[in-house]
């Protein structure tokens, strides 16, 4: 019985819902502040993402005439839920809300599901900007899926010592035993590849080819306003937290004895990962063109991932 | 017996060559039936042997030491010939319909489904 309450608490409170929502809003706020500071300007208050979401909740929702109303309103909810459920799998230290022995494949598919709901929602909105936006989102998905899969296979193979594992618990245990994987030089290219994948997966500035305000008027979200828009914005923030959490789970899983220290280390490493992978490219480079994104991911990033995969395969 | 095998494989190769190179639908169908003849010859020659006689005998009349030809491949050849005939008939009816619809028999022009 205690185990059941403990797991329900885990799901609802700590590594589960409450922690995810708060952490994602703070992380998005810190990211925007860091970008502002890098451009030597004051930048918005840290809780700005919260205000954005609350403001969108307060505005009226217009369902365009040509939209398919059910799918138009349902897609954002399913997208937000699938991303929240993905956050359940991420371990803090060695505690995670849901534990299965094939976490990585489920995470991979839930992230795909989140992007699919974004695509189906924009397709249902019936605007030409959304049509172009969804095809760009799909191209982005194709480009980052290959390196993401390779990195997962590499880490799974390293931590499985013989039999490959897809469960984050075993990966955590391996890292607890012989240090976080980031220190292992063979895995540096894989870490770099994952750092590159994160901004494109989340749809952050240099790679947000699907919501390019200047080119295709908010592309995927052209017709969204009010509550569905709030859910999509919240999904964007939670995805940012989930991806940095995934990086921490795979490469930076430092497990000290007691839980509070784990949480602190986890938050600090999440902020660090967000800074390196999302804030710096946002402040430094302009938005990529569509085929540049594809070429960049399938040559540079896949090369890094393949390099570390082969090095691991040779048995280093 | 090996001569039969050479001839049958020659027929199969000839038929395939005819299907690949000829651009007239009728010749393609002819090529298909040549391939069928090659296989039928192969089936029959597998079961055959020089000294063997037809495996038909009245009850109790078996003289020990007589060689019989294996009957099963001959039965298979019958089926294969029947199937070859049906396929050729089907192909020819399709060729007639194609000609009435496309107005040509040249395979290079009958390529609406491509890419």
């Amino acid at each position: 019985m205690i185990g059941f309450i403990q797991s329900v608490l885990n799901i609802l409170l700590l590594p589960g819902l409450a922690f995810t929502l708060i952490a994602s809003i703070l992380l998005a706020g810190i990211d925007r502040v860091l970008v502002a500071r890098m451009q030597r300007r004051v930048g918005p208050p840290v809780l700005q993402p919260l205000y954005d979401v609350l403001k969108c909740l307060g505005k009226e929702t217009i369902v365009p005439r040509k939209a398919n109303e059910k799918v138009f309103l349902l897609a954002p909810a399913v997208g937000l839920i699938s991303v929240l459920v993905t956050a359940m799998f991420l371990p803090i230290g060695n505690v995670s809300a849901i534990r299965t022995n094939a976490d990585m494949i489920v995470i991979l598919y839930l992230l795909t599901l989140a992007s699919v709901t974004l695509i189906v929602g924009s397709a249902a909105s019936g605007s030409p900007f959304a049509g172009v936006g969804l095809s760009r989102e799909m191209v982005a998905m194709i480009s980052y899926e290959l390196p993401l899969v390779m990195v997962m296979l590499t880490v799974g193979f390293v931590c499985g010592n013989g039999l490959a594992t897809f469960s984050l618990a075993k990966i955590g245990a391996y890292q607890a035993a012989n240090g976080p994987l980031l220190l292992n030089p063979v895995l540096w290219p894989a870490a770099i590849a994952l750092l590159f994948v994160i901004p494109c997966e989340v749809g952050q500035q240099p790679f947000d080819i699907d919501e390019a305000e200047t080119e295709i008027c908010e592309g995927v979200l052209a017709e969204y306003s009010g509550k569905p828009l709030a859910q999509f914005k919240m999904m964007h923030n939670v995805k940012m937290y989930v991806m940095s959490g995934l990086f921490c789970a795979l490469f930076l899983n430092i497990q000290t004895g007691f839980f509070l220290a784990d949480i602190l280390i986890y938050c600090v490493s999440c902020v660090l990962v967000t800074f390196v992978s999302m804030s710096v490219p946002h402040a430094v480079t302009a938005r990529f063109r569509v085929e540049q994104v594809f070429k960049f991911y399938w040559t540079v990033v896949t090369g890094c991932a393949a390099l570390s995969l082969i090095l691991v395969w040779i048995g280093l | 017996m090996t001569f039969n095998y050479f001839v049958s494989f020659f027929f199969i190769v000839l038929g395939l060559f005819c299907i690949i190179t000829r651009h007239n639908l009728f010749k393609v169908v002819i090529g298909m039936s040549v391939v069928d003849y090659g296989t039928n010859l192969l089936i029959v020659s597998i079961g055959a042997s020089n000294k063997g006689t037809a495996p038909i005998y009245a009850a109790g009349e078996i003289v020990p030491g007589t060689w019989f030809v294996d009957p099963i491949p001959q039965a298979l050849t019958l089926t294969s010939i029947v199937i070859g005939a049906c396929i050729t008939a089907m192909a020819l009816s399709l060729v007639i319909k194609i000609y009435s619809k496309y107005g040509t028999l040249d395979t290079r022009e009958i390529r609406r489904l491509h890419g």
Binding site: G43, K55, G58, K59, E213, E218, A222 | -
Partner: protein, 155 residues
């Protein structure tokens, strides 16, 4: 609902309405003088993001609609159509003196009057190319008006 949770949520949203302002800029035939000033207000030097401002590409996500230019004949229908597509509650801010009075172009055959003829203007930022600080002041006033409008919506 239980211990008036929805009242607290509505108050939080009204407060948020004044803190997160998404701008959408309509150029109703302006000479681009005001457009450059608006964009200048968004650059790091004047940093409109301090107020929570962000430029959006689609009117569906607009809170504050910035209109510049004296509403020429060609852009009249487009202006009305875009304003109709913005979800409530939103503020209409006219940048420069052209939209609020027609400036030097007043009375010309190609100009059909100030923006006021088509929709109630909440804040008018005067000046032929007002300085970015003036635009920022206008946006700050619009934020307060937005909060009132939002409060009016759910009473």
């Amino acid at each position: 609902m239980l211990f008036d949770l929805d009242k607290k949520i509505n108050e939080a949203i009204d407060d948020a309405a004044s803190k997160s302002l998404w701008l959408y800029h309509i150029n109703a035939g302006s000479c681009n003088g005001c457009d450059i000033e608006i964009v200048a207000a968004l650059t790091p030097r004047y940093d409109a993001e301090r107020l929570g401002c962000k430029l959006t590409g689609s009117p569906r996500q607009a809170d504050i609609v910035l209109v510049s230019g004296p509403v020429t004949l060609q852009s009249r229908d487009r202006l009305i159509r875009t304003l109709a597509q913005v979800p409530e509650p939103y503020c209409l801010v006219t940048v420069g003196s052209c939209p609020c009075s027609g400036n030097v172009f007043k009375g010309s055959y190609a100009v059909c009057g100030p923006v006021d003829k088509y929709r109630h203007v909440d804040v008018s930022v005067a000046g032929c190319t007002p300085k970015p600080e003036a635009i920022m002041a206008g946006i700050a006033q619009a934020a307060a008006i937005l909060k009132e409008k939002r409060k009016g919506m759910h009473e």
